[in-house]
């Protein structure tokens, strides 16, 4: 992987809590020394949040589709109509 991707990887491992204690300390020291890395860390944290937001949206859409499909089943539709 090119070195920039290695950095993406390292930040990701940090965010996912997958670094060893020692690696974590080295990484946290680099945050203090290099503002650019600290910025990348924050942006990557936001990226994780966006991915989750996207996933929830997709899952919600899927649930709505399941509901619509089930309404095509006479038995299910009948139960829903007679609650």
């Amino acid at each position: 992987m090119r070195s920039e991707l290695n950095e993406v990887y390292l930040i990701d491992q940090y965010l996912l809590g997958r670094l060893s204690k020692e690696e974590e300390q080295v990484f946290e020291a680099s945050l203090l020394l290099d503002e650019a890395i600290a910025e990348k860390l924050e942006a990557q944290r936001t990226a994780h949040r966006l991915i989750r937001r996207y996933a929830l949206k997709e899952e919600r859409r899927r649930l709505e589709e399941i509901y619509q499909l089930l309404l095509d089943e006479p038995d299910f539709a009948h139960k829903i109509k007679t609650i």
């Binding site: 992987m1 920039e4 991707l5 993406v8 990887y9 990701d12 910025e39 990348k40 942006a43 990557q44 936001t46 990226a47 994780h48 949040r49 966006l50 991915i51 989750r52 937001r53 996207y54 996933a55 929830l56 949206k57 997709e58 899952e59 919600r60 649930l63 709505e64 399941i66 509901y67 499909l69 089930l70 089943e73 038995d75 299910f76 139960k79 829903i80 609650i83």
Partner: protein, 168 residues
């Protein structure tokens, strides 16, 4: 009534929702409210299951009905936050400017690269293995799927940095 090779969520839905809708009707709620609360609960169920954090003490159906009931009571303002099931924030939107900014950023990311977002979802949310991801997205093995994953993540990250710089 479970069909062969059917998605388990569909079977669970078919089996649980009518009972839940009836329960909510008896408690004075509408069908639409029942569906919203039921979906909130299913999202919690799905997320915990994929993260292998679902410890069921009862059947999936009982868990789902219990969670959905709490979600519905919450929308009626009858449940304090402290009693909400773990993972409820999964379904809880916050409303700030930040929220709107992220929403529109997400929309533009989906427009410019839905495949990247789907790949990232498969890894971070669905907890699929890199081999599964390689098969599903047509990569030549785990390594190239992994490289692509970090490229996608970098792309999202750079879009976020640009938007933040723009917002300041």
């Amino acid at each position: 009534m479970t069909r062969q090779s059917e998605d388990p969520i569909t079977s669970l839905y078919r089996d649980s929702f009518p009972d839940f809708a009836r329960m909510i009707r008896r408690m004075g709620g509408s069908l639409e409210e029942a569906k919203d609360a039921f979906h909130d609960a299913l999202l919690i169920y799905i997320e915990r299951e994929r993260a292998r954090k679902l410890n069921l003490h009862s059947s999936p159906k009982a868990y789902l009905l219990g969670t959905a009931r709490i979600c519905w009571l919450h929308t009626r303002g009858k449940v304090p936050i402290s009693e909400l099931p773990e993972g409820y924030e999964a379904a809880e939107p916050e409303d700030t400017n930040e929220e709107e900014r992220e929403q529109s950023l997400l929309e533009s990311l989906v427009r410019s690269g839905k495949k990247c977002m789907d790949l990232l979802k498969a890894f971070y949310y669905d907890h699929c293995s890199m081999q599964d991801i390689a098969n599903r997205f047509g990569f030549n093995g785990r390594r190239s799927a992994t490289v692509q994953k970090y490229k996608c993540l970098e792309k999202v990250r750079e879009a976020i940095k640009t938007t933040q710089a723009y917002a300041q």
